[in-house]
Amino acid sequence: MALVNNKYTLEDLYIGMEIIDKDQLSGIYDTWIMLVKKNSSDVYTVGFIGKETNEESDKLFMQGSVVCPVYNDSIELEGDIYYEE
């Protein structure tokens, strides 16, 4: 697939795909993408893709791998909203 500005689209992704930098996923919104890797590895692979997390994505947390959760909320694109923590 051709990367646009070095970023993937949702259609580019598949389970097991290697992801070098999670910033490559920054153009995909409102979708959970769970990346996994072994402690000894530098490279993540896609472990789960879905609009909501579920039992399948929960299993990733029990496998002894490192899990990197990616979720870009499209509400962040709206300029008039900010978090008053």
Binding site: K22, Y44, E55, V66, V67, P69, Y82, E84, E85
Partner: protein, 184 residues
């Protein structure tokens, strides 16, 4: 290569954020890698909404139920700046009555917390976890106070930056970075 200090730029939304690795060992969760957190100097304690890790709502509620039933786990309630007095009073009442599962403002204290900013590691005996909140993971003063921190406009980058180093691992590279960015 591991960093010797933490250098973060303020973003266009006036936030200072970082992608960090973290573990909460006594939760029996795997290590969380490269998760986005927000530096919050107005927050007294670091707060982890577990849903932000990508754990499902169902699983989070199961974990909450287990923690509610465990008297060894310290519970507290915390409120946001927008929480009205009525909500706070109602939640305090429920908390005193032990109605923990009904409270979305409740946090549970879990042990052996470690956060890794690209090789700069900070540990804490415990951290507060919530199972209902969906806001940001906030790094509060309990973690931040373990570091020497400077926030200001970098003369090198021309932007506001957060430059920090844990007291326990002070090093020459950090001192040089202070000089480079702030003329300190």
């Amino acid at each position: 290569m591991k960093n010797k200090y933490i250098l973060l730029e303020m973003n266009q939304r006036n936030e200072i954020r970082a992608d960090v690795n973290m573990t909460i060992k006594n939760m029996e969760l795997t290590e969380i890698g490269s998760v986005n957190v927000k530096i919050d100097t107005g927050c007294p304690y670091t707060s982890i909404p577990i849903l932000k890790f990508g754990i499902s709502s169902t699983k989070a509620q199961q974990m909450k139920q287990r923690d509610c039933a465990d008297d060894r786990i310290r519970k507290e309630i915390s409120f946001g700046v927008n929480d009205a007095k009525e909500k706070r009073d109602a939640d305090k009442e429920k908390f005193r009555a032990g109605k923990y599962m009904e409270l979305k403002s409740i946090t549970f204290q879990h042990g052996d917390f470690e956060i890794d900013f690209g090789g700069v590691c900070i540990s804490k005996d415990h951290v507060k976890v919530s199972y209902d909140r969906t806001g940001n993971i906030l790094i509060g003063m309990d973690v931040l106070s373990q570091m020497d921190i400077h926030i200001g406009k970098s003369k090198v980058l021309g932007k506001t930056v957060f430059l920090a180093c844990p007291y326990v691992s002070m090093n020459q590279e950090y001192v040089e970075a202070l000089n480079m960015h702030f003329d300190i």
